[in-house]
């Protein structure tokens, strides 16, 4: 049940990508998709339940640690992508005076 609800979050992210005209919002849509994917990994790792993956004497049944390790990597990757995209956004604003996709992509004024 949980993974299915999480998939809705991913779909909302794609909806945002497909409808928003604003670059910053597109960047955030990507962040939403990414958070959804992370949550999906954890949901599926937690599908059968279990303790947190830190071993001590009492623990005999844990959730899967591999998806969690992978997701830490994904969080770092996602944040760098966001940082890079937002820096590009600021630059685009100062070049075009707007962050609307339509106007940014539509302008054609390179001399060469």
């Amino acid at each position: 049940m949980n993974p299915i609800l999480t998939f809705i979050v991913i779909l909302i992210g794609f909806y945002g990508l497909a409808t928003s005209n604003n670059i910053i919002k597109s960047v955030f849509s990507v962040t939403i998709i990414e958070s959804g994917v992370i949550l999906l990994f954890l949901n599926l790792g937690n599908l059968e339940g279990g303790a947190i993956p830190i071993l001590n004497d009492q623990v005999s049944y844990i959730v899967d640690p591999l998806p969690q390790a992978l997701m830490i990597t994904t969080i770092v990757i996602g944040s760098t992508v966001t940082a890079l995209a937002l820096m590009l956004c600021i630059k685009i604003f100062h070049h075009y005076g707007t962050v609307e996709w339509k106007e940014v992509l539509g302008r054609k004024d390179v001399k060469s």
């Binding site: 071993l55 001590n56 969690q68 390790a69 830490i72 820096m87």
Partner: protein, 230 residues
């Protein structure tokens, strides 16, 4: 409007297929990896936190490139925001920004606490939740508070970036020592059958290096953003 309807229709199809596959998964679920880590994880790596065990030992190669992504992004963000024209003397005539005094006092109080917490998370990464990446991010957040106190703080970005690159080199070197002792790249340089306390030395060292690298990297990223346009 029509495109929104089209989108929703496509989403319905995808959602249906996904839901079916998730229901299927409940019977097909494979727990091979989970059982392996539960049985061998502590004995082979010496880390009771299995996530750290995977990040720093089983899949160290990934973590190296994860740190590499941060490195690249830092250089990229700096390159994009940098310009050849020096504008150090430029002063904004209207700069309304001023932090309230209460916040400054509060921030001064919180700053050492956060820094200490960050170091705690880094150093205890192998036995409790946390590790180099998380602790590094917390340290970076603590440094961020300093900017909250004084927005016009001067930072030598060039130096930080140089240190960050050297730290990355150290991480790669540290990870490759095992080729001499173990005959394979990217694992603990102590023998897998060694004592857990001995192996913890390697884990803590690597966590500290990664923690500092991540902290410096994130610090550079938000300094670049704060300086952008100033």
């Amino acid at each position: 409007m029509s495109r929104k309807i089209l989108l929703v229709a496509m989403f319905a199809v995808l959602f249906g297929v996904f839901a079916t596959s998730m229901i299927e998964l409940e019977t097909l679920f494979n727990t091979y990896g989970k059982t392996y880590f539960l049985e061998h994880g502590y004995a082979e790596t010496g880390a009771s936190n299995l996530v750290t065990a995977i990040l720093l030992d089983y899949r160290l190669f990934d973590s190296l490139f994860e740190a590499g992504i941060l490195l690249i992004a830092v250089s990229g963000v700096i390159w994009i925001s940098k310009h050849d024209v020096e504008e150090k003397n430029a002063k904004f005539m209207i700069d309304k920004y001023k932090t309230p005094d209460l916040f400054i006092t509060f921030a001064r109080l919180v700053y050492p606490l956060m820094l200490a917490f960050g170091f705690y998370v880094i150093i205890n990464g192998h036995i409790s939740p946390g590790g180099g990446f998380q602790g590094g991010a917390i340290v970076a957040t603590a440094i961020l508070i300093l900017y909250y106190i004084d927005a016009n703080k001067e930072t030598n970005i060039g130096l930080i970036v140089t240190v960050e690159k050297i730290l990355y080199l150290l991480i790669v070197l540290m990870a490759s020592i095992s080729i001499i002792t173990q005959g394979a790249f990217f694992t603990n340089f102590f023998n897998p059958s060694a004592d857990a306390d001995l192996k913890a030395i390697y884990l803590v060292l690597l966590n500290v290096l990664i923690g500092f690298k991540v902290a410096l990297g994130l610090w550079t990223i938000f300094t670049a953003f704060l300086k952008e346009g100033r």
